[in-house]
Amino acid sequence: MMTRLLLACVVIGIIGCDAAETVVVYTSVDEVFARPVAERFQDETGTTVHLVPDTEEAKSTGLLNRLIAERERPVADVFWSGDPVRAAVLKSRGISAPYRSPLAQGLPAEYSDPDGHWTGFSARARVLVYNTTLIPAEQAPRSVLELTDERVRGRGCLANPLFGTTSMHAAALFTTLGDERAKSFFDGFRRNGGRLVSSNGEVRRQVANGTCAIGVTDTDDAAVARREGAPLAVVYPDADGMGTLVIPNCAVLIAGAPHPEAARRFIDYLLAPETEEQLARSEAAQMPVRPGIVVPGVTPISDLRPMPVDYAVLGKRLEELSNGFLATWVESVRTEQRQ
């Protein structure tokens, strides 16, 4: 009797193990925003999602290195990137595979890879944040370039431009302003005593606690700080000038994914209008890129002047800058800070 019961348990256990399909999703999107989406997909489809989030930039070697190391025999099925640059790195190294989802209809083509290796959806923007106890509203900054102004000497904050969305912003400045003006901005920031900090989260913290008066960060960082009641206001910069950099999320199918069908279904889910709406309503307050999705309290992209950039080439430009000007510039800022 006991033997039969034991055998039954083993059989049930084996059947139970094989019943649920699985998809492994690596993501550089903040876990607090990505996990609810993954859990909703799991509830609606019955497919188990193993979410592998990344740490904040500059706090660890990062998930992208894991994807590169696993290239020949990947563990991940999907990479959900918080920006197009990391997606472009994967494409350049042959780690991604093209997939044109039927749910991508309606998404603007300018936010996706022309070869179909990554598809853009739900965006953040690069914004200026300033401490309202240090800077009154009538003197609020209007442009990123004001970080070189005398009035913010020693009190401007920028995250390390070798990491994360700041790196993408740096590359965008070079392509939009041209090399001379962009270099002039970075050198001006350095001469103005600007503070180079580790991450966008650190920019948020230092502006919130008054160490810095002005900083550049992402909309989700700013939203978190405002939700917590920090004395911090947000400006979408350069509305009259070069425009505000919009940073879409990107869905990437991994080449040789162990669960390709589940991977495609997850990417379809990410690109659906309902997911964009969910991310807009979340505390990330991400902007839908698909026209027609309006969420109260979320600035629609149509209200902004987006910076005109070609996301497909931004990754390559960043690679040149990371091994060239930006690396040298970061070194010089650190040398001065050490002194």
Partner: protein, 531 residues
């Protein structure tokens, strides 16, 4: 039949075993070592060299403070009984399991928000402070363990000769070499830790490594930087290892085994240890809590609205309950990785110690190898392991892509701790025990179980404990190797801290620390009750 004497006699098996253990421990970094030797990597640049010297200075400063604080406190705590001794020792050990990013954020929040906060909390001095609060507990624990290995007759003799002062001097002399080695280990850990430097704005060599790995994706450059860093560590560590290898332990006489009774001490001892706990644990924790308690939307404001009816809907309560859910999901993995790493490091380290035996040369070589491998950053071994797993057939995944892999790589990285403690423990054993066992024909298995294991057990337990704590703080290795869905609590804290509400992050940190504190207190209590 193998004789017990083979454990004391020299032999070629010793050199062979040392080589095998060294090879095993270095396997994860072999892929990166190979890349570092390939031609074509860009030059290291003046800023790398500048940051290298800055990091060396910070490491030396942290190690010096660690010895000056940890050695006397560890010795005193070992020799005396005083109120709150166990709880304070356990609390003092907590910084070992906290990634330095968190403590650095705590200190920087204190520096920014508390009027008149001293300038030493910022910049390079702030880095030294953060790392010193992690090195001091390591030195304290090792000094404590070394002092407890003194025999009753030694302590009584010193007491008769010159009172308590003489006892303290004897114990300090007895513990100085392991304490210096522990400080060296602590200093080496700081070289590969980018946390404090990133938060406090100090250009450290670990930041350069991180830039190479995570910004440039230039593994070859990163590998070459690691090689240079290891060279620096070897230059500094080789003389230390040469001196320590010959003085790590003196074999106790067979009859010097009775433990000494602890003397009662007054509140001064409690106050000293409490001061260390205040500086190394409570102050940075207070800094982490400041944003939660001081903002308009804050703990205080939420507490005013908290009533019996609305506590379920209260935002603060929901966030804290969510934190409990996260802890429940990740607790098992956290414990498995910590305990697994402790076991691997201890087995490997003590195995190396057994092979090195009492030979000064082999002990020096063992220490040099251990310290050199310890200098490689966590990412090096983790990426090497990921590369090897990818190149291996799928049927090896249960070994190479599993929780076991995480435990193994963490343990291999930290086996230097097991080596130091194992060398000392093995060296302290009396060789006359083996001679007596051999004379009486005691089989090796019984000798190992009845004589060697009880003698090594306290040091093995300490090795397991220290490695478990250090492994818990290693977020980078877990990120790169954990099977999907098997993340640990410290890793989860780092993946949510970017944009989770501050209350959530602080709740997770507090639950992590209190959980570790409770577990350590239980273990210490059980160990104390064991005859």
């Amino acid at each position: 039949m193998t004789s017990v004497l083979s454990l004391e006699a020299s032999g070629r098996w010793r050199v062979g075993t040392v080589l095998v253990v060294a090879f095993l421990a270095s396997m994860p970094i072999v892929p990166l070592l190979g890349r570092s030797l390939e031609p074509g990597a860009p030059a290291l640049g003046p800023v790398f060299w500048g940051s290298l010297w800055t990091s060396a200075g910070v490491a030396a400063g942290a190690a010096t403070i660690g010895v000056l604080v940890g050695l006397p406190l560890g010795v005193f705590a070992a020799l005396h009984e005083f109120p709150g001794r166990k709880a304070l020792l356990v609390t003092a050990a907590l910084p070992l399991l906290v990634p330095s990013f968190l403590w650095a954020i705590g200190w920087s929040e204190l520096a920014a928000r508390v009027p008149g906060a001293p300038a030493m909390l910022r910049g390079t001095s702030g880095c030294v402070l953060v790392f010193a609060t992690m090195v001091a507990p390591l030195v304290l624990l090792v000094s404590f363990a070394a002092s407890t290995s003194l025999s009753r007759s030694q302590v009584d003799g010193a007491r008769l000769a010159g009172g308590e002062t003489r006892v303290l001097r004897l114990a300090s002399r007895h513990a100085i070499v392991p304490a210096l080695l522990a400080a060296a280990l602590g200093g080496i850990v700081t070289l590969a830790d980018a946390g404090a430097g990133e938060i406090l704005g100090v250009p450290m060599v670990a930041t350069e490594l991180l830039t190479s790995f995570a910004a440039r994706y230039d593994v070859q450059l990163a590998a070459r930087q690691c090689l240079v860093l290891t060279g620096l560590v070897l230059l500094a560590a080789a003389p230390v290892a040469w001196v320590a290898g010959r003085r790590l332990a003196d074999a106790a006489l067979a009859r010097q085994t009775a433990p000494f009774p602890r003397q009662l001490a007054g509140m001064g001892a409690t106050a000293s240890l409490a001061l260390l706990v205040l500086i190394s644990v409570l102050l940075p924790l207070a800094g982490l809590l400041l944003p939660v308690v001081s903002g308009p939307w804050s703990l205080a404001a939420e507490a005013v609205e908290l009533t019996r009816d609305n506590w379920r809907r209260n935002h603060f309560t929901l966030l804290v309950m969510g934190a409990f859910g996260t802890v429940a999901r990740t607790a098992a993995n956290t414990l498995v990785y910590a305990a697994g790493a402790g076991l691997v490091a201890t087995l490997l380290g003590f195995g190396l110690a057994c092979a090195a035996g009492r030979s000064g040369t082999l002990r020096t070589i063992a220490l040099v190898v251990a310290l050199a491998l310890f200098a490689w950053p966590p990412a090096a071994g983790a990426l090497g392991a990921a590369t090897m797993a990818t190149a291996s057939p799928a049927w090896l995944d249960p070994i190479l892509r599993s929780r076991f892999t995480v435990c193994a790589i963490l343990g291999l990285r930290l086996f230097a701790v097991g080596t130091v403690l194992g060398l000392r423990a093995w060296g302290t054993m009396a060789p006359s025990w083996a001679y007596a066992a051999a004379v009486h024909g005691v089989p090796p298995r019984r000798y190992l179980w009845r004589v060697v294991w009880p003698s090594l057990r306290p040091s093995a337990a300490l090795s397991m404990l220290v490695v478990s704590l250090l492994a818990s703080a290693d977020v980078g290795t877990v990120l790169l190797l954990h099977p999907p869905g098997a993340d640990s609590l410290p890793l989860t804290i780092f993946t949510v801290m970017a944009n989770a509400p501050t209350t959530t992050v602080v709740s997770l940190c507090l639950l992590y620390l209190f959980g570790a504190f409770a577990l350590l207190l239980v273990l210490v209590h059980l160990a104390a009750r064991r005859p």
